[in-house]
């Protein structure tokens, strides 16, 4: 957070502790991803295998199979969390996350439509995901435009649009043959099972570009918290700022969706958890990214190991965690307004 006011020392200590805790969770779950599996490796051996030392078989498993999964877990978690932070800042609504707004379901609709036409390339699938997601988000905004985006109405509208698109998805899946239908269904839950190292470079590039643009945009976004007129007086163009933020958010969520399929609730929960842990008024972007990475890696470890040898899709675990968190958020909301 860039601020001209230096935070109180106690608050700064709190933030250092928060960073340390989240980083530790991230480190432990990453190490767990590297070490645990059908071939159990001690944490020390796993670290040694990272630099190429030790048994060649272990090195192969750790470096070729588990490392890409761990790296992509971190990258996708950060991407999702940043997208959520942007959406929540623009809508000024802690529930204004891409998955509530129907983006994930829409992305799946896009993928199914593209598959149905016969395209199988990664580029086509990604394009379908982005197009479908955008379409869903546009529908939600269009339907709820009159009631403004701040309230619950936009969220319930998102629920409605999601339900409809989910129905469309089922009809589309019925039209696919078994093999393609199964692949699509696996993709729909969102999972790090079977991610490939090919995606590491695009995901990392996206995250880098996003980090630069968001840090350039953050002061203007924070100024919008004072209301459009005062922000205007500070030299911020509100509409342009919002459009840029949404555009970046959509790009981030699209890349994340392309890598793993729609993983739910990370974008919703991570920014709000970060805001509470760091005690900031607005959504903190860097902290959100860190929390998102830790959340996704920990969820993925749970998903892979909880019912081993059955590997659950990562999205199932995040939905359960995120849903419980959403429920808790609702009870909190009432207490604070009283």
């Amino acid at each position: 957070m860039t601020s001209i006011v230096r935070a109180h020392p106690a608050l700064r200590r709190r933030r250092v502790v928060a960073t340390a805790v989240v980083a530790a969770v991230l480190a432990v779950s990453t190490l767990g991803t590297l070490a645990l599996g059908d071939l159990g490796v001690s944490p020390g051996d796993a670290l040694a295998a990272l630099v190429g030392a030790g048994d060649p078989g272990t090195v192969l498993v750790v470096q070729q199979w588990r490392l890409p999964r761990a790296i992509l877990g971190i990258l996708v978690g950060a991407l999702l969390a940043l997208a959520g932070a942007l959406f929540q800042t623009v809508t000024r609504n802690p529930l204004g996350s891409p998955d509530i707004l129907g983006f994930s379901v829409g992305a799946f609709t896009g993928v199914l439509a593209v598959t149905l036409v016969g395209a199988t390339s990664v580029l086509a699938l990604t394009g379908g995901a982005i197009g479908g997601g955008l379409l869903a988000a546009a529908m939600v905004f269009l339907f709820s435009a009159r009631s403004g985006f701040g309230g619950f109405a936009v969220v319930v509208t998102g629920v409605g649009v999601s339900a409809m698109l989910a129905a469309v998805n089922v009809v589309l899946v019925v039209r696919l043959d078994d093999v393609r239908a199964r692949a699509a269904a696996v993709w729909a839950t969102g999972s790090l099972n079977g991610v490939t190292a090919v995606w590491i470079v695009p995901a990392a590039l996206t995250l880098g570009i996003a980090a630069v643009t968001i840090s350039a945009l953050a002061p203007a976004l924070n100024a919008l918290e004072f209301g459009d007129e005062r922000a205007g007086a500070l030299g911020v163009r509100p509409t342009a700022t919002r459009w840029w933020a949404m555009l970046i958010g959509v790009a981030l969520i699209a890349v994340a969706t392309a890598v793993t399929g729609p993983i739910g609730f990370v974008a919703l929960a991570a920014p709000q958890i970060a805001r509470r842990m760091w005690r900031t008024g607005t959504v903190p972007f860097a902290a959100s990214a860190l929390v998102g990475a830790a959340l996704l890696c920990a969820s993925d470890l749970l998903a892979a190991r909880l019912f081993a040898p059955v590997m659950l899709p990562t999205g199932l675990v995040t939905v359960c965690l995120g849903g419980a968190y959403l429920a808790w958020l609702l009870t909190r909301r009432e207490r604070t307004t009283r």
């Binding site: 009159r146 319930v156 509208t157 629920v159 019925v174 959403l326 609702l330």
Partner: protein
Amino acid sequence: MTARTKRLTRTAIVVAVALGGIVLALAELCIGEPMLAPLQVLEMLRHPDGSQAAVILHTLRVPRLLLAIAVGAALAVAGVIMQALTRNPLAEPGILGVNAGASFAVTLSFVVLGIRGFGATLVIAAIGAAVAGVLVALLGGVGRSASVSRLILAGVALTAVLSGLTQALSLIDPAQYARIRVWEAGSLAARDTTTALIVAGVVVTGLVLALAIGPGLNLLVLGDDAARALGARVEIVRAIGLVTIVLLCGTATAAIGPVAFVGLLVPHAVRAFTGGDQVRTLVASIAAGPVLLLVADLIARTVAAPGEVPLGVVTAFLGAPVLIVLVNRRRRRS
């Protein structure tokens, strides 16, 4: 409009709904493989001649029709009661996660306890519906919070968690997966006559309870204090209402899987003619619920023929736009 023309229109609507219901019921019996003529169906219903078509009619299509009528009435009436009890026009068993609770409980019993009989499934579904209903009422702040959308969000959160858990359970045990899949999609198919009769019996009990508390619901929507002042026994009405919801939703979900939006669509459509009176709305919903479910089932069976689209998908497609319109219209007015 004079009182007389009003009465005439009302009679006309009742006649139209009744005729439509009969036509739909006949269509439900005729359409499929093999396709039967209406007269042929009527003939076979009276004198089963032992032919393959007659067997299909008696063992598959008649139970299916019975189930559709029972479940349609159950879900629609559950919606009316929920909306009255929570004073929330968007309350609905599917949206509020009550159906998700029932289906989670049933999946749990399949996978962990290995339960197979329909009677036991019915009880377990009812327990799941009850637990989910209480949870969502607590989270959504029923009676404490005036927010319409908070309850919906609590339902959405609960549904997300429960369906995630249900999915996880069904993935853990591949042997049960196929069985759960069929049931989870929401379908009227694959039920025998005994099951249909059990379901119909429980649903009729629930409907009688619902009609009994109808006058009480009329007072309850005015608010607890006003209702008490007018002589309503608020706690008793609420308790019976909750039991009725659990009975109806649990049975419906156990029979055909989670089906959403029927409890939203039917009461709102019906109220355009019955106005705010709960008893009239209940009676009209008992008639209109089966009609909607039959329409949805006919769409489900024909749109992807020879395959079948899950019933829940059709109701979601019909019902979700209504939810969107309702939430945004309310907002604009206030």
